[in-house]
Symmetry: none
Subunit: 128 residues, 4 copies
DNA sequence: GTGGTCTAGACCACG
DNA sequence: GTGGTCTAGACCACT
């Protein structure tokens, strides 16, 4: 079952896009795999405290992108090819890093300071 | 005069919030300082190609947050305390670095890979 | 036994309402009479290729309207008063003829053209 | 300006489809013509007592069908070719008459009775 | 004021 | 229980 345990809503971005992003990030990080079961619209709706319709919109778009398969009355499942996965990984990483360095550059940091900040926080978060 | 030279519009976030964010980022990066003059609403509108109403909304919210003050002659000036600046810096770093490394960590990259990517793209964007 | 021989599903109207309507139309046209036996829910479900729950909903509403009564053995029978029948007839004619001539009138047809069209298509559908 | 004066909401059909139908019927009946101005979403919303979003859905579909043209901040106008109009007329009339005679046939009326009913009500409604 | 989008709640048909 | 649709209200960007 695809988990939304570590998912929290941010501001300034539509909820349905945040959900789509969570799935894509999970796929790229191989936490989510092809064949995994998606939570039902209602379940996820209750879990996130978001309207079922918003969830529905995410799922519908994911289906149009070919990342999940749905059938009425049945569960929804992840369906992704290896090829698509690699493509998504490149897209997501590229997008993330560019937005990130752009922000810090605008905040007046230089390359060294940025690298140091990343290293520091990474150790703090994931290596303690 | 507060500059919008390096400002570009993104998607998925309201324009008026992007403008507010640009000011905050500039303040944190000390490119913008207390006392600096804001461009007039109509000037900024023309410069960014954005509707004056949208600009007006940004200025109004910035005023409500106490980050700019309008004076006679319709000129607006930046006004920020040292305390507020530190608070903003923490908020922005939270929003940027932590979300960023969290994303890449979730996508399965380790610290070394992340640092390498940041270094690479930084050089590519800002040192060529 | 109430027949669903000439019943076909249309779009843009809930199935359970179409079923109820079919009963009412049959009653008004005296093809269905008080005392007639309704097919069992599961039989009708199979016959129309419609989910049992949807059939159940129709029967429940028909019961609430007092048009069918369930007896022991799970058999349901039509039960309608002469008064109710006249009322229903008026309702249905209102719904059909008036809306129909109103539509064609609005589309710019006159009486003669309308009558000719009805005659033509009637012959084509039911007399060939 | 396209009028909704004689428009009233019926049941059992989505509101947005009823609105689309009203436009098409008006076009076919030449009450509405190419170049006519549509009421704004808000105006029509208030007039019909329906949510603006529902109106928006109708307008969007009409635009996708090429029957109206919209621009942000500007009015919406009818745009229809003579060819499209003739096609629509045939579709609408065919659809109307078939549903109508089907209903009355199911109500047990024969051709003569149906024609008589149409004639009677037509005279009553439009020739008195 | 205009059109467009996002989120929300209720309902429908299905297994 | 499942997925899908319709209606509703608030918000955004633009003239």
């Amino acid at each position: 079952m695809v988990s939304f345990q570590e998912f929290t809503l941010k501001e300034d971005s539509p909820i349905y896009l945040q959900i789509i992003r969570h799935i894509k990030v999970g796929l790229v990080g191989e936490i989510i795999k092809s064949g995994d079961e998606m939570p039902s619209r209602r379940r996820l709706s209750a879990l996130l405290g978001v309207n079922p319709n918003t969830i529905q919109k995410s799922y519908k778009l994911l289906e149009e992108e070919g990342l999940i398969a749905s059938q009425v009355g049945a569960k929804s499942f992840i369906t992704v090819t290896e090829e698509r996965l690699i493509q998504m990984k490149n897209e997501l990483i590229q997008e993330n890093v560019e937005i990130f360095i752009d922000s810090l550059h605008n905040m007046g940091l230089n390359r060294e300071e940025t690298l140091q900040l990343v290293e520091e926080l990474w150790r703090e978060h994931y290596e303690t």
